[in-house]
Symmetry: C2
Subunit: 402 residues, 2 copies
């Protein structure tokens, strides 16, 4: 039993509507829709994961409170302004976003999740947002996923959507989602939003466990140091309209549900990396043979996060010395003499020294748009993988001003 | 009682000779001297600090062993090749460098410290180096500091020298040094070499304590995360020819000696930062009011090491939101509502939110070549300062290939 990819994104699942309106939150985004809505007329169960940053944007605080409710029906999200570092007034503004959405859809405010992305420290233009939000109910459609995905884009260059279909108890079930990313070189700084819907019937506790596990295998792998921006949010809504027997702990269908959900989150995470600001290369860093999982993670993230390593990749220079250096300072247990490093499976470093592989062959691999670096520390059996990018002159240009 | 700056660098102190020869270790450095020697005909006491990276270059391992000896007379250093990740053969090569220098100067090999800087993972051309080293005794002079400083430059754009003079027991005493740096955006990756000489008489234990304390206040403040490259080395030689009463623990002159030494190391550290690859701005990040020293350091380094913060500085964008974000993910105890941030003393963030300072005034400050960012966490009384730089397009260009 497996799943297949289908079109439709966050509206692939039955009973979900999505769409967007133009508000003009950021003056420079003239005419581009900048408020998105995802709406379920039916009751749902909801799960979510939020940034671990101690500086949490107002909408994150409000949504975390609303997550504890039992019947979320809508997610409203704006681009162009993060509503972060905006104090008590920012919290009030986020609540007004929820209240305006609730009013338009005849819901209670606690049935609405709110999200924002954009610049930190600037008050939201809530007056005109309330006016724009009032038009959202007529903007949502059962094929409106793309419009919602486009409305949450900031420096993203393409809309990110995916959906899958599979069977539970002989009934077709769908999981689909949209996401936004960008700002990837130090991925923890990217504001990442992801909204997922499913028509599966599932218990709330199971849904949260499945989402948390899935985020750990996807978005957290592109989040170096496990650090996150002020606004990062992943929300999943399940409305049960597929008619399967509600998934509980240990249910036969849970494995398939998890795999299908993981496919959705992993692919959205990969799209985010590939669309990172100024990215020219996509690099997978695998660490094997670490003493324990924490060490494997430290080593992978040190390599993935080294500005010198990233600059070398941008220039097509294998420069494994910079990888050795990062492994040496990252605080994971290692012995120089034990380290092997492979570029796309070709050995570059054997026992901490240059292998006999010609430098020209390694250069060819690093010249590619996509490469895999595998590091074996040979001190234990733990492994970890992170997805990262190079560091380009365009990245600097894109991030040097507003 | 104080000290005054004098000329002469590492040969300012009586009885020290320095110079360089051309070897051609790195083909692209044609005709530029690339092996330096510092030589004391008189007996010395020696102290040193070395990289904490688990991947230590061969010369570091050899010099650490020689440091335990009691009569080092020479420091030999090459640029163009780091002799790192070169295995057992690399150790033999570093020993041959020491042996060749010892032979030329009629010393024992253990009386020679060896240092290398340059690319990792490439064997040293030891054959021609031995030939070149044989010419070093005739190349050293009592005013040869500049030549030695120039010979250890890699991507450095200027030679780094400083010296000071002061009195102990009515006798003039000098401390002087040379250094090389570069590769500064992620400063832990820069190979930093620093050689200091003094004609003070001082006990070995006191010399080591003074050097360690001085390095902590200087080079370690530009070494984000306390991580270091494979080759980082600081060595001080004291030959006692000034004729002061030998400095012991608690000696009256120790405070002045420490202050003078700190002046030397801090100024060399600042030159290293200012000469960082592609650097356009020099930024001091002060964190005050942290719960403890470790937290103050984490916060200062998170801000100083954030690629997005550095890109914003390069572009002249104050963007304090990125600073707040870094403070939030850095694992130091903090509450968003308590944070104040100042740019050159002008308040930008008050209680975690935008202050009333006009954005245009902050922009003027960030447009400068040098600025100070002061962060008050208001949770305790610990503080820490780091010296850092912006992240420029030129930095990426300089680091994207060999």
């Amino acid at each position: 039993m497996s799943y297949t990819e289908i079109s439709g994104g966050v509206t692939a699942a039955q009973g979900f509507l999505a769409g967007s309106v133009y508000c003009g939150i950021k003056a420079s985004n003239a005419n581009r829709p900048d408020i998105a809505l995802i709406y379920s007329p039916q009751p749902t169960v909801v799960a979510g994961t939020f940034t671990t940053n101690k500086v949490k944007a107002a909408p994150v605080r409000v949504s975390m409170a609303h997550l504890r409710g039992n019947d979320v029906r809508a997610i409203v999200a704006n681009a162009g302004n993060a509503n972060a570092c905006t104090g008590v007034a920012g919290i009030e503004t986020a609540k007004r976003m929820a209240a305006a959405t609730a009013k338009a859809l005849k819901l209670r405010p606690r049935q609405v999740m709110v999200c924002s992305t954009g610049r930190i420290g600037v008050p939201l233009p809530i007056g005109k947002m309330v006016t724009a939000i009032a038009k959202l109910p007529e903007a949502v459609k059962n094929n409106g996923s793309r419009r919602a995905a486009e409305a949450i884009m900031t420096s993203d260059t393409f809309a990110k959507e995916i959906a899958v279909e599979f069977e539970l108890d002989g009934k077709p079930v769908r999981i689909g989602g949209i996401a936004k990313g960008a700002g990837m070189i130090d991925p923890n700084m990217a504001t990442m939003l992801c909204f997922i819907s499913t028509d599966a019937a599932i218990e709330k506790k199971q849904l949260q466990e499945a989402l948390s596990a899935s985020v750990e295998q996807s978005f957290n792998r592109i989040t170096v140091d496990g650090d996150m921006s002020t606004n990062d949010t992943v929300i999943i809504l399940a409305n049960g309209t597929a008619g399967n027997k509600s998934l509980r702990q240990g249910a036969a269908g849970m494995k398939l549900f998890q795999r299908a959900l993981d496919h959705v989150t992993r692919n959205l995470a990969r799209m985010i990396v590939e669309d990172g600001e100024g990215v020219t290369k996509f690099v997978e860093v695998h660490v094997n043979g670490a003493a324990n999982l924490a060490d494997a993670r430290k080593a992978a993230e040190a390599v993935a996060n080294s500005t010198l390593t990233k600059c070398a990749w941008f220039g097509g220079d294998p420069n494994w010395g910079r990888i050795m250096d990062a492994l040496g300072y990252c605080d994971a247990k290692m012995r120089e003499e034990n380290v092997d490093i492979f570029y796309d499976g070709l050995i570059a470093v054997k026992g901490g020294m240059a292998s006999k592989t010609p430098f020209s062959k390694l250069k060819k691999i690093v010249a590619q748009k996509k490469l895999t670096i595998t590091i074996d520390l040979h001190v234990g059996s733990a492994d970890y993988t992170v997805f990262t990018t190079d560091l380009s002159t365009d990245y600097v240009k894109l991030n040097m001003g507003e």
